[in-house]
């Protein structure tokens, strides 16, 4: 894809909502092992509110799509995922501001801004067994591919692979942040549900936009 339009962004959010809906039981089960078991439910409520809000936008630009996604996700969800993803989408909106379509650099910048937003709002660092463990490597891989001059498809595929590996790596981690941190040693062996859903989102971005 050379340039991503607002319409394609809306289709992307719809694709994410569909994936989350399919996977919500698995996400809730992951959360049940080390948290309070509602992560799949929260993500499903959030993205269904997003697609609902986006369907009512009239002639939006990419920034308007991201901003509407941020507002609707936040107000439908609350919880931890609400502020984290709302911040991510708001930062993407800021990065997309003024662009009628997002070219390779524009879309990559929006993705990097999302990762940065998650990290700053959650005040989390890689290695603490949170969604940052998927978002941070995804951003690093995207940045590296961007710097190598690769096309958008390759950038997003690299980000998706890194997010997936990052989520997988959380199994071996001891949680020190978020709800699972109260578990101490018992958090080891379980994948972090926030990292799992982050990998699912970045994966859907690659499948939808990176084709």
């Amino acid at each position: 894809m050379d340039a991503v339009t607002a319409k394609q962004l809306i289709a992307l959010f719809e694709a994410i909502a569909t994936r989350v809906e399919t996977e919500k039981d698995r996400l809730s089960e992951l959360d049940g092992a080390i948290g309070d078991g509602d992560h799949g439910v929260s993500m499903s409520i959030g993205f269904s509110a997003v697609t609902d809000a986006l369907s009512r936008l009239e002639d939006p630009d990419p920034a308007a799509v991201f901003n509407a996604a941020a507002r609707s996700f936040l107000n439908a969800v609350g919880a931890s995922a609400g502020p984290l993803y709302a911040t991510a989408f708001m930062r993407a909106g800021a990065a997309a501001k003024g662009h009628a379509v997002l070219d390779r650099d524009g879309f990559a910048r929006a993705l990097l801004a999302m990762a940065q937003g998650v990290r700053e709002r959650g005040k989390a660092e890689p290695g603490e067994k949170t969604m940052v463990d998927a978002w941070a490597p995804a951003a690093e891989a995207a940045q590296a591919a961007l710097d190598r001059g690769e096309p958008l498809g390759a950038i997003l595929t690299a980000a998706a692979a890194a997010a997936r590996e990052g989520a997988e790596a959380t199994k071996a981690m001891l949680a020190t942040k978020g709800r699972a941190s109260r578990l101490g040693e018992r958090s080891i062996g379980h994948m972090d549900p926030g990292a799992a859903s982050a990998a699912l989102i970045v994966g859907t971005v690659a499948d939808t936009i990176g084709r």
Partner: protein, 335 residues
């Protein structure tokens, strides 16, 4: 196997509950017309009185919204089940109860609640509302003493909210109400025990597994794993284990006094709570701690979880007087 629940569409369970609550308690609470997830006391806030906003996820009733009323909390934003409310209904609560004396945000220490309440506090500041925040950390089992700031807020909220709400009702300024809330939190200690899991309306699956003959001490009110899992013991032995953990931190000194809360996590009946309280009273007498007041019942639940929590609040004259101060809420009356 899915659990049985008396609900309609699980997506609207919070909305339908709120509707039922305002119909049942029209003299105590109302929904803000432009923000129905914001529950506000019917009793109008007096000029200059600090507004006390408590809140968190739904599924813990009567915590949080049952404690909205005269002499206790002024408003409560209701989140989804076990999920913090988003910033908007929190902000609307703050605006509705701000009478020039500022607003206190008082809620349990969970990452989601902290992020959403902090965002709401930033938004309130932009509207020139002074907001202070106190997060409660009474769950002794949720982190070791040297990491007390990481602990969760659980059933002890009832005493902490009561003290802060009374201080605000007595027209103390924001500095003082904040000080009282912090002091109440410092002196409140809770330990819970879970016997069987709860299930979310959306999943209707047990949100943790516990063997048929097992209990888990220290489990959180959303099923967060606790500190000790083992075979279910007799009530006295369980109470002793829980009290040992609490008394290890209960302030030392002469003439010790406590308020006691023996709380059902949802489906544990009063019979078992009173059996437990009998042992609590016996142990406290043995420790020379006099019991100022005892609450027994469902005060902070986790849907249909079976189990209970024990809370002790160490009292001095100030906290005892604030606990005795009259209040009249939808689901709690005193004095």
């Amino acid at each position: 196997m899915k659990t049985k629940k008396l609900i309609n569409d699980p997506r609207y369970v919070v909305e339908e509950m709120l509707e039922g609550i305002v119909k049942a308690h029209p003299g105590h609470v109302r929904q803000l017309p432009h923000s129905p997830r914001s529950i506000v006391a019917v009793e109008a806030n007096r000029p200059g009185k600090v507004g006390v906003v408590v809140g968190g996820g739904s599924g813990h009733e009567p915590t949080f919204l049952g404690y909205v009323g005269k002499g206790l909390a002024d408003a409560c934003p209701a989140g989804n089940v076990f999920a913090s409310p988003p910033p908007d209904p929190i902000l609307e609560c703050a605006k509705a109860v701000n009478s020039g004396g500022g607003v206190l945000f008082l809620y349990g220490n969970y990452a989601g609640d902290v992020m959403n309440f902090d965002m709401a506090a930033e938004m309130a500041a932009m509207e020139d509302i002074e907001v202070r925040t106190v997060v409660t950390t009474d769950d002794v089992a949720s982190a070791p003493l040297d990491r007390k700031a990481e602990r969760r807020g659980v059933a002890g909220n009832v005493f902490i909210f009561k003290a802060a709400g009374a201080a605000a009702d007595k027209m103390l300024p924001l500095d003082e109400v904040e000080r009282v809330a912090r002091k109440a939190n410092e002196n409140t200690f809770t330990v819970g025990v879970a016997l069987s899991p709860c299930s979310l309306p959306q999943t209707r699956r047990p949100n943790f597994e516990l063997g048929e003959d097992e209990m888990e001490i220290g489990m959180g009110i959303h099923g967060e794993p606790g500190v000790m899992r083992g075979p279910l013991q007799a009530a006295d032995a369980v109470v002793d284990d829980m009290l040992d953990r609490i008394l290890a931190e209960f302030p030392r000194g002469e003439a010790r006094r406590a308020a006691v809360l023996v709380n059902s996590l949802g489906s544990t009946p009063l019979m078992e709570l009173y059996v437990a309280n009998r042992r609590v009273a016996e142990r406290l007498a043995g420790e020379n701690i006099s019991v100022h007041r005892t609450l027994v019942g469902p005060y902070c639940t986790s849907l249909e979880m079976a189990g209970m929590s024990i809370t002790l609040m160490a009292l001095d004259d100030e906290l005892a007087e604030l606990l005795d101060h009259p209040c009249d809420c939808a689901m709690f009356r005193s004095g």
